[in-house]
Each structure stands twice: as structure tokens, then as C-alpha cells.
């Protein structure tokens, strides 16, 4: 403003005494601020707490860390050994039985059904009591051997035209004291339009005789499609050599099909080959059972036991295939927890029952004083007393034993042993109060996946935190020296980091692990090897930024040493971005560790999260809940760490706010 303008102002008349210096006679010293002083960190903290998503992420990280520490301590489940009966239990939480998820049930599709089960159709390898609701059954075809298959035929064909073909079963043990009939059901291939000629033999090895006797059952002129031959035993016994010591022989059934003229292949459908015993329907050596599959003709050995006898091409080159084989499959809802821990039949000794009686679960009379524990009759009588006294409607609802339906007395040892056939609640037998439940299910080793995931998370976090702190220390030292001194030292150090940083992380990890094995310290070393370069670069640029500032110069002119300048003036001011980049390093390390596990070079001995995840990757189709739960945890961790890191960055450098 010029003087001319000043004249335009109207200066009010003011008394001179009104102008008094407030501090006229006071000694002026430094006064305390009336407002509270704030530090760089406090200010950053205040800004950080305003960022809601970062605060939420911090809580999530804290929660995951607490789980990672306390789940392995308080969860008693075994995650080191393999427990077969607990394999692949789906996720379940007690009380969620009727919800859509965590109900512990799974939908099973397309399972083969055993139609011959005495209690009605039953899906093979599943427990009847654990099937929830109805079984939905449907007809399906099969192309491979199954003892639950029906119908169909083996199509036997020679590979070359004008060639014969032979087909033979594996040895079958037969007692010739019985009488056997043979039924053969064959059909020609319509495409070939020629009825095949064939022969059917039994190659018999009598005990004690060296020579194998060949008994012709049908000869080469046979062209029928179905025929029975009564009493093949007599035919075989007629060939019995004198030196034979027994009538229990080993025999192989053999087929020969001849080629039907020029440009015809020897080919035949074998619908059935039945060897039956007409006198004894209860315990026959072979029973009608339609075959199944190109190499196996199934023959029933006894009523219950099905044995696949292998048939092989023996003469010429040929192929066999299964045509029109049928099988029943089922879809149903299954409760594997019920199967593993629910009601089941068990044999329990008297001692066990007495234990449960002592604990008050069941009641039965005491052992009478006039009875002797070494007398079989007394033990039997006591068994009957218990059976008579046991009232299954009156048992305690917490009782491990819910029914006793029989007993047996074993007399082999020095004293008779009383065993009871019981129906038990298995989880009570195991000493649990309720049906166990696994929130994330169990993995292929029957281990609680929830504990496995959080134990692994602990390992991964530990690795991440340790590696990040070591990286910060190395990076800080390296970056400060490089940035503070600059010049030639900086050039040299920069070239070294450039070369180290040029090696792809995966190459560094692989090389170190190949040389030193895959233990925890080696992983730590591998993560530190090139991990510090980022921190070093950030530190260096921060040092370049602050080292020429006036306050540093002022301190230097006052005679401060290098170490004082670095640690007292430059570092505290530049710590924000360094800290942020170090926090963001942790998820990077966890991610790298998981990646290397997926590539098959994971930690050994200590299952990290990556190792557990990659192990369950191969069950992605059959048991997707394993990978899903683990992946959700690792994703949650990564998202939280990123949000947390972004919040920190914004807090330390408000000018970057909103820039992501």
C-alpha cells in the first residue's frame, strides 16, 4: 500500500493511554501451549481411526490372530495323526442341523445300490441308519465289472478275421462231492449274422496229479444259444486219474470260438455262464449270477460272498467288452456324522457294562454271591439275568448302551468271558457328551480342518511377521546408508539391489529350498533374501527427501554426528511410508508362502495355511468345502491387511488420501 491510499482512511480519535503494552514489565519466557501438543504418531492415529474400513480391517486381523493363537491351544482335536473313520466329514455346527449350511449332511449322487441286501436296497459303503429321508433310485448302465451289476453280456471278439479265439477263467476251487449243473446262455452278434461254433472245456487239476485233465463239456459243433448240461461232476470224475488224492479240485472254465469262414471274426456274446448245485440251494459253490465286464465273469461263492473270477483271452488276439450291463444307482441325503458317531452295533465285555452300571447309565443285578466266575454255566446264567433285567425303554438318555440283544460266553481262555451284543451310541462310548461337530469339516486324514486352518494361519502369520521385521531392519540399515551418504556408496549399493531384485522371487525361493530343504528357518531365509529390497528402496528415497531439509542442516551446523542426524532427525520423519510398506509386506509373504506350497515345495513338518490348502486342492470336486473354507480365511486375511495398510498410508500421508 502506498502512502497516498493511507490518507483515505479515517483515523478515529483514540486516547494515547489506551495503548499499553500487556507485557510491559513482564519477563518473556517460553510459555506452554494451551492446546495439547500432538506428535506425528498421535496425529496419524487420529486420522487412522477416522477411516472406518481400516479400523474394521484391524479388528478382523486382530480376531484372526487371536483365533490363530487360541484355536490350537483350546481345540483338543488331533491334527497330526491320521484318523480314518473321521475322513471327509462335512462342515457342521451343533444346533444347525436343519439349516442349509453347517448341517453336517451331504447330498450323495449316483452311488451304486446293492439290491440284494436283506434289509432292502442299500447304497454300497453307506450306513443305513445315517441315510436321511428317501433313497431316490434309478437304472443306469455300467461298462466295468461290478458285483452289483445285472444282465448284460461279455462280447468276445477276435481282433483279426479268420482267427479263432479262446477265453479262460482263473482257477476255481470245487468240491466234486457235490453235483453241479452247467447252464450256458449265448447269443450271436447280429452284425455277424453267423451262428458261431464253439467248444466249452473244464481244465481240471486233481490234487496229487501232475497232469491237467481237459474235460470237454460242449464240442465244436455246438451252435445253440442256450443250453444246460446236467451233472458235469460225473463228466469230470470220469477223467479222475488214479493218483489223485482228493475230490476237491481246482478247475478253470475255458471257451473256444471258431471263425465262421472268410472275412468273419470269431465273435460271441456270453450272457450267462452258470454252474449250479441243484441239491443244495443254501451253500452252493457257484450260483447264477450274470457276469459283468470284459475280463470278469462273476460267480457267486456261497450266498453272501461274491467273487469275481478273472477271465482272460488265451488264444489269439481279441478284445472283450461289456454290453448292456445294468446297475441301480441312488441319490440321497447322507449324514456322515451319524455314520461315524451315531448308533451302531458293538460287542462289549461284562467289565464295560459294569463300568456303565457304576456310572449310573444302565441297571442290572449284581453278580450273585453264590455264582462262580470260573463256571461257564454260572456265567451263562448271569448273562441271561442281565438280558432279562435290561429294559431298553428305561435306560438313561445319556447312556452309551441303548440295547442289549444277545450275549456269548467265550471259553477259550483260563476263565469264561461274557460278551454282549449291544447297540451303542458311539460318541458316548468315546466319552463325548454330544455328537462332535467340525465347523470346517474334516480333511482327507480325518483331521479337524478348522484347527488345521488356524494352526496353519498361525504358522503363516509368524513367518510373515518374522520375515517382515527382519526385512525392515535390513532394509532400514541398507536404505539409510545408501540414501544418507549417496554418491559412490549409493551407486554401488544400488547396483547390488538391482541385481538381487532382478532375480524373480520364484527363482530365489526355489533355489534356496532346493539347497537347504523346506523347513521353517529356510523359508524365513528365503523370504528375507530379496524381501528387504522394497524397504531399502523406500528408506533410500525418504532419506533423499529429508536429508537436505533445513532442520537437518541446522543440526549439522551445531555439530551433530551422522548417527544423530539419521536416528534423531531423518528417520522419525520418514518412518510413515517405511512402516506402511512393511505392513503391506506381511500379506505378500503369506501369499508367497502359499504360492510355493501350491507349487509343491511347501513347508514340511509344519503345516502352514498354504500347505493345508494345497493338500485339499485335489478334493475340490468331491469335497469343495475344504478348499472353500481355507480360501475364505486366507482371502479375508489378505483383504484386511490391504485395507489396514491403505489406512496406515492415508494416516501417515494425508495428501494421498483417496488415492488408491
Amino acid at each position: 500500500m502506498s502512502n497516498k491510499e493511507n490518507k483515505d482512511f479515517i483515523v478515529p480519535e483514540v486516547d494515547k493511554k489506551d495503548f499499553v503494552f500487556v507485557q510491559q514489565d513482564k519477563a518473556i519466557h517460553d510459555l506452554k501451549f494451551e492446546t495439547k501438543p500432538t506428535t506425528f504418531f498421535k496425529d496419524a492415529m487420529r486420522r487412522f481411526t477416522k477411516n472406518k474400513s481400516s479400523v474394521a480391517a484391524t479388528y478382523i486381523i486382530g480376531f484372526l490372530m487371536i483365533l490363530a493363537i487360541f484355536v490350537p491351544i483350546f481345540n483338543p482335536n488331533d491334527i497330526n495323526s491320521s484318523q480314518n473313520e473321521l475322513r471327509f466329514l462335512p462342515p457342521r455346527i451343533n444346533g444347525f442341523q436343519n439349516t442349509a449350511i453347517f448341517n453336517g449332511k451331504e447330498k450323495i449322487k449316483g452311488v451304486v445300490v446293492d439290491m440284494n441286501d436283506p434289509e432292502g436296497p442299500l447304497p454300497v459303503n453307506y450306513v443305513r441308519t445315517a441315510i436321511v429321508g428317501d433313497i431316490e433310485m434309478y437304472e443306469s448302465t455300467i461298462t466295468s465289472a461290478s458285483i452289483y451289476g445285472r444282465d448284460g453280456s461279455v462280447f468276445l471278439t477276435s481282433t483279426n478275421t479268420n482267427r479263432d479265439i479262446g477265453y479262460r477263467s482263473s482257477p476255481i476251487t470245487v468240491d466234486l462231492a457235490n453235483t453241479y449243473d452247467l447252464t450256458i446262455d449265448l447269443s450271436a452278434n447280429a452284425a455277424l449274422e453267423v451262428a458261431p461254433n464253439y467248444a466249452f472245456y473244464a481244465d481240471v487239476t486233481f490234487p496229487g496229479a501232475a497232469e491237467i485233465k481237459t474235460v470237454t463239456l460242449f464240442d465244436f459243433s455246438s451252435t445253440f444259444t442256450s443250453r444246460s448240461l446236467a451233472d458235469i461232476t460225473a463228466l469230470i470224475l470220469a477223467e479222475k486219474p488214479v493218483e489223485a488224492t482228493s475230490d476237491v479240485v481246482s478247475l478253470r472254465l475255458r471257451f473256444h470260438v471258431t471263425s465262421q469262414g472268410v472275412n468273419h471274426r470269431a465273435a460271441l456274446h456270453m450272457n450267462q455262464v452258470i454252474v449250479s448245485n441243484p441239491n443244495d440251494t443254501e451253500d452252493v459253490t457257484f450260483v447264477p449270477h450274470n457276469f459283468v465286464d470284459g475280463n470278469n465273469v462273476l460267480v457267486r461263492n456261497g450266498v453272501a460272498e461274491l467273487i469275481a473270477y478273472t477271465w482272460n483271452i488265451i488264444n489269439g488276439a481279441g478284445t472283450t467288452s461289456l454290453v448292456n450291463g445294468k446297475i441301480t444307482r441312488a441319490n440321497f441325503t447322507y449324514d456322515p456324522y451319524e455314520a461315524a458317531f451315531g448308533k451302531r452295533d458293538m460287542v462289549l465285555g461284562l467289565d464295560k457294562l459294569e463300568n456303565y452300571k457304576r456310572e449310573g447309565y444302565i441297571e442290572f443285578p449284581d453278580f450273585p454271591s453264590n455264582f462262580s466266575k470260573s463256571s461257564v454255566t454260572d456265567m451263562e446264567a448271569y448273562g441271561n439275568m442281565i438280558m432279562a433285567a435290561f429294559d431298553k425303554d428305561a435306560v438313561d438318555h445319556k447312556s452309551p448302551v441303548v440295547d442289549i440283544y444277545g450275549f456269548s460266553v467265550l471259553t477259550n481262555g483260563p476263565r469264561p468271558i461274557l460278551d454282549f451284543d449291544c447297540q451303542v451310541v458311539y460318541y458316548r462310548i468315546l466319552g463325548r457328551n454330544a455328537m462332535p461337530s467340525f465347523m470346517f469339516g474334516t480333511n482327507q486324514f480325518g483331521q479337524d480342518y478348522f484347527k488345521k486352518v488356524f494352526f496353519g494361519l498361525g504358522i503363516s502369520l509368524l513367518l510373515g511377521l518374522l520375515a517382515a521385521s527382519i526385512n525392515i531392519i535390513i532394509g532400514l540399515i541398507w536404505g539409510s546408508i545408501s540414501g544418507y551418504y549417496g554418491g559412490g556408496i549409493d551407486m554401488l549399493m544400488e547396483r547390488i539391489t538391482e541385481i538381487l531384485g532382478g532375480i524373480p522371487t520364484i527363482v530365489v525361493l526355489t533355489l534356496i529350498i532346493l539347497h537347504l530343504g523346506n523347513s521353517f528357518p529356510v523359508f524365513l531365509l528365503a523370504m528375507v533374501m530379496t524381501g528387504w529390497i522394497g524397504t531399502a528402496a523406500t528408506t533410500r528415497s525418504q532419506f533423499y527427501r529429508y536429508k537436505r531439509r533445513e532442520y537437518v542442516l541446522a543440526s549439522r551446523t551445531l555439530g551433530a554426528k551422522d548417527s544423530r542426524l539419521i536416528f534423531r532427525h531423518i528417520l522419525p520423519n520418514s518412518v510413515g511410508p517405511i512402516f506402511t510398506s512393511s505392513v503391506l509386506m506381511i500379506p505378500g509373504i503369506i501369499f508367497a508362502e502359499a504360492t510355493i506350497s501350491y507349487l509343491g515345495l511347501g513347508l514340511q513338518g509344519l503345516p502352514s495355511l498354504g500347505v493345508s490348502l494345497s493338500e485339499s486342492q485335489q478334493y475340490i470336486f468331491s469335497h469343495p468345502y475344504l478348499v472353500t473354507s481355507g480360501a475364505i480365511v486366507i482371502s479375508l486375511l489378505m483383504i484386511s491387511f490391504n485395507l489396514f495398510g491403505n489406512g496406515l498410508r492415508d494416516a501417515f500421508n494425508p495428501s494421498l488420501k483417496g488415492v488408491e
Binding site: 538391482e498 532382478g502 527363482v507 526355489t510 504360492t595 501350491y598 509343491g600 486342492q617 491387511f641 488408491e660
Partner: protein, 342 residues
Amino acid sequence: MWKYVLKRIGLIFLTAFIILSLTFILMKLLKIDPPPGQVQVQLAFFNDQVRLGYMVKLNHNIGNIADYIVNDNGVYHYYRIVPVMQQYVNWLRNIFLEWNWGVSTQIKINASAMDIILEQLPVTMRLNIIALFTSVPVGFILGIVAALQKNRPADHIISTGVMIFISIPSFVVITFLMITLSYGLGWLPTQWPSVQLDSTTKFLGYIIPISALSFGTIAGFARYTRAELTEIMSSEFLLLARTKGLTKRQTVIRHALRNSMVPIVPMIIGQFIGILSGSMILENLYGIPGIGRLFVTAISQKDYNVVMVDMAVYTMIGLFATLLVDLSYGIVDPRIRMGARK
């Protein structure tokens, strides 16, 4: 500029030379397994090693000095590994004079490791390039939308998605895509289709790998574009443009977008390295016969020559991508003079 480029290229070759030398020495310190199987195959391998100068043939084995013994019908052949530094010198000679990178010992016995890599490289490159070309425009558009709609629902949705996809590890994405699209719904093949299958299946087979590779990159581009554009949108020259009467559309397209490209173009190249390393897991999980899967197979089968060449390829791609990133700054923005003195 040209001087700078040449200097950088020279430096890159020097860096690559040092890295590969270190890698070679470290790899050679691991004991190599001779190829399994017939004696003739083994002899061919050992004789090749002798010719390349990595082993010497001994006439006797007095004092058990041989590292490998081959029994050819009673005739014993003894081979001894030469010291590592001597092998290193021979290796340099083989590479510079013959371009000989050694043979595979397990995967494809006695085939050149370089040939095996070159055979599998196209699949990996094709996937990565397609993924890059799909993710750049999508990410760019999402970023622009988010920046222009800043703090409105569209921005919140995009930003949340970006945060999630940047954080989630790629194997999780692949796994979820496989669980839902392949196993659950059955729309896509559960594995990389083999060569014999029809072209529809082959086309469908590309969907999961491309999406798995793209998601992270799209998120990265969107985030970066949004950040750059937001910053530029609040700058003075845009205000000036508006005040002189341009519509918002004109200012965005003519001024904001062009300026925000400066850091984004180098990032495209930078992402390429990211995709390449991400595809290693993908190739393993989806059964794609590329160099990433080859790398893992080679390590698990201890086929160290193949591992070596594979590492060399990854290193070289990484180094050249870094160079391109640096150079592209100068090309995109003429204000930046790379290597210029102050």
C-alpha cells in the same frame, strides 16, 4: 535418449549374466540324477556331459573317486563331476559358442532343454497376452467410471470389487471358478482341453484361465486409473479448461485422460510380469502345458537343466519388462528425459 537406452540394455545384459551365473553355480551344486532306464540312454547322457565339459570319464575307480558308475553288461564306465567353477567356464563356452543349454534328464530324456522350453512357451505367452488384452480395456473403463462417479454408488461398487480382487490370491480365484463353473454348473471343462478335442471345447477351455489371470490385473488397472484420473480431475489446468467454456466431456477426454495415461502405459508392461508369474499356479491347477507347469514338473523330477533354462526365461522376461517400463515413461511423456542430467 539413445545413449541411455543402449546403456540400460547393456546393464540388463550384465545383470542377467550375473544372475544366470549365480543360478548356474547354485544349480550345479545340486547333484544331478542321471536319466532312468536303459544303459544306452544313460551312456548317451554321460557322454554328452563329458563332451560339454561337465564330467570327465575315468578309466578306473580306485579309491571310489567316481560320482557315477554305469554297468553296461559287465563293462563299467566311471564318470566324475568336474569342479563347479570349471563347469561354469565350460558352460559359458557352450552357451556362447554353441547355444547349448544342456539336455533334459527326466522329462524328455536327452532332448535339448531349450527346445522343450520353446515348445511350451507359446501356450503360456498366448494365455498371458490374451489376458493382458482383455484386462487393459476393462480395467481402464472401470477406472474411468469410478473416477468420474467418485463417491457415488458406482464408485463404491467398483472400489470394493477392486479391493477384493487385488487382495484375493490368484489360486483362490481359480479354485472358485473351477468349483462353480466347471464342477458345479458343468459349463466349462474341468481341465485344459487336450489337442484332440473339438474347437468349441478348446474355446471354452480358455475362459477359466483368462478370467483367472485377468481379474487381478483388471482390479490393478482400475485402481491405478481411478487414482490417476482423480488426481488430475482436481488439478488447476482442468479448472482452467472448464472456465474457458469446455464441457465436462471435452475436458475429460482432451485433457484429463491424456494426462492420466502417463503412469498407466508403463504399468501395462509392468502387469505383464505379474501375469506371467501368476500363470505358474494357474498352469498347475488347470493342467495347462506351459512353462510354469514345466518348471514345477522339472523341480519335482529333479530335471535341473530344464529348471535352469526355465529360470533363465523368467529372469530375462522380467528384466526386459523392467527396461520397457522405464523407457516407456520417456516415450509417453516427453517431459520425462530418462537418464538426463539435472
